[in-house]
Every structure is written in structure tokens, then in C-alpha cells.
Symmetry: C2
Subunit: 144 residues, 2 copies
DNA sequence: TTCTCATTTTAGAATTGTTCTAATCCATTG
DNA sequence: CAATGGATTAGAACAATTCTAAAATGAGAA
């Protein structure tokens, strides 16, 4: 169905997604959503996406890139991942999963949640509740 | 022995530590090492430590705070922990352990490694080796 | 001791990633 | 269409960190 829809009306996939999330399908949001969601799952920084938009001749300001990434994240369409001080990554994979972080390249790689198992978690400190558990496996090239 | 040494020569503890690490025991490094290592394990940001030094009437520039935290980390005297984009924390606990991150206060709290168990780790991607595994349990106050 | 020199520290400028502002633009609705 | 509230934007502002190059200082030699 998503297939058919996409073939007949090239934009309706992301437009529907945006509307469902309660966001106006503006030119910029549609273009960014296409870049983000009509490909494989990705991990992008704001600059990455800005550059990618430019490369695709989509004119969007950096402020809008940030606005959009934050809105998409708040609405659960994607999520923010922090691995390096001073730079945020945004992840289009919203499934429960973890990450390899390649220290030399700065790339993130998914670890599906069934390939890792965090057991014997201590209980959350009094008065708090767990909002998320992140496992980051930092790897470096063997040549390093 | 550390006890006796410390009683007789108040600075020799950290001085020895610095020398052993191959660092000249300068006034600034001695003062910062005392603040960092002669108390319980801590998680500090550069600004935190700068402020703490000022409070203790130790005159140290912010540049030196950064230099020192990085040197100490590179030499294995402490380690850097990244939980929020845009701010680094430095951890005086060099044991293998993980963290609760209190989202409301920005505080880190240790989880001893025997209280958590990361099992069934996938093997590192070809050509890489694991340099570290970080588990961050993000918690928010139940009132949030 | 004093001298010497490499190491360290420093103030302030520069850089980086991100957020803010307030003017303009545009999607939606009637 | 016209009205209007939300969205976008350029550029300024901001916060954390790094850089620079000049001044200070620790440590060993004389
Ligand atoms: Mn990047
Ligand atoms: Mn702090
Ligand atoms: Zn991911
Ligand atoms: Zn810790």
C-alpha cells in the first residue's frame, strides 16, 4: 500500500507522515522528510543534512534544519544520539537499538536490540524512572 | 603507607601520582589533582572544576583546566564521559563502570560494573576493536 | 646559588555547533 | 482570493572549547 501510494503520488508518503504527526507539510519539511525517511535508516548531524539538502538543490536554512530535526525527534519520528561532545546525531531508526561508534570516522552503526542484552539492570534511583538506556560500543580501526 | 606519606608531606600523594604519569608537578596540576583525587570519585565539567578552584582560592586559567583534564584523561588518571551534546564531563573513577544520567539535574551517578551486565555483545565490525562500552541509563525525576 | 631552556601557563582571540530574534513568507481556511 | 497563524530565514548571539603567542616557571647544569 505504501508502495502503490508512493508510485501514484510521489509526495504522499511523507506528506501523510507529516500530517499524522501534526506538522504542516511545508516545502522544506517535505524535502527533508524525503531525504531522511525514503532511504535506509540514517544517522545524520545537522550539518550533514544541510549539506545533503544543498547537494539535492533543496534550499533550506540551517535554522530550519535544526527546527525540523528537533520537531521530528520530539514527535518520535526520529531520535537524538549523543556520542561526542559538541555534536548531535539524529537517528531515523526509532526501534529500540544500540550503537557502535567508529571513533576514527565518527560514524554510527546500529546494533539491533536482539544482538545485545543488558541484563541485571540496577533499579532506578529513588524518585526517578528510566527514560532510556543507551549502549555505545566505541570501536577504533585496528590500524589505529 | 599512603596514609603516613600524606600525613607527613601533604602534597606527596598527588606529586607522586603526577610524576608517575610523567607530568611535572606544577602548582596548578598539584592543586587540581588534590581537588580531583583527594575526595570521593567525581564527575566534573571544566567549568565546575574552574569554579571549584576559584572557590578554593587556587588561581588557574580555564585553558589550563582544559589542558589538565585532557592530559589526565589521556594518561588514564581519569576519563571523559559524554552524555549531553555540548558539554563534557570528566570522571575520576577509572574503574570499569557505567552511569545513571539524571536528565533534570545534569548529574551523573556511577553504576558499578557488577550491578549491570551487558551480555551477548555482537562482535566488533571487521577491522575494528572495541575500545570501550558505555551504558548510560537516562533517568528523569518521577515528577517530570 | 644562579643560569638556561624546555615545559607550562595564560589572556584573550578564534572557532564550532547551536539557539535566538524579529522580519518575511506561505499553507490553510473561509 | 484575503486573512491569519504557523513556518522559514539571515544573521546576530551564545556557550563550550580550542588556539595563539607571549610570559612565567620548574628542573637540571654549572
Ligand atoms: Mn558528521
Ligand atoms: Mn556541571
Ligand atoms: Zn541508530
Ligand atoms: Zn563515573
Amino acid at each position: 500500500m505504501a508502495e502503490t501510494t508512493r508510485r501514484n503520488h510521489p509526495y504522499s508518503g511523507v506528506i501523510a507522515k507529516l500530517k499524522q504527526a501534526g506538522l504542516r507539510p511545508t516545502r522544506q519539511r517535505i524535502a527533508l522528510a524525503k531525504l531522511l525517511f525514503e532511504n535506509e535508516d540514517r544517522h545524520v548531524s545537522a550539518e550533514d543534512l544541510h549539506e545533503e539538502a544543498r547537494a539535492a538543490s533543496v534550499s533550506v536554512s540551517l535554522a530550519t534544519i535544526y527546527n525540523t530535526l528537533h520537531q521530528f525527534s520530539e514527535l518520535g519520528l526520529m531520535r537524538e544520539v549523543v556520542v561526542e561532545a559538541g555534536r548531535s546525531y539524529f537517528d531515523t531508526n526509532t526501534d529500540d537499538h544500540h550503537h557502535f561508534f567508529h571513533e576514527h570516522s565518527g560514524q554510527l552503526e546500529d546494533i539491533p536490540s536482539d544482538q545485545i542484552n543488558v541484563a541485571e539492570m540496577p533499579s532506578a534511583p529513588p524518585g526517578t524512572s528510566v527514560s532510556r538506556v543507551d549502549v555505545i560500543v566505541r570501536v577504533s580501526g585496528s590500524a589505529d
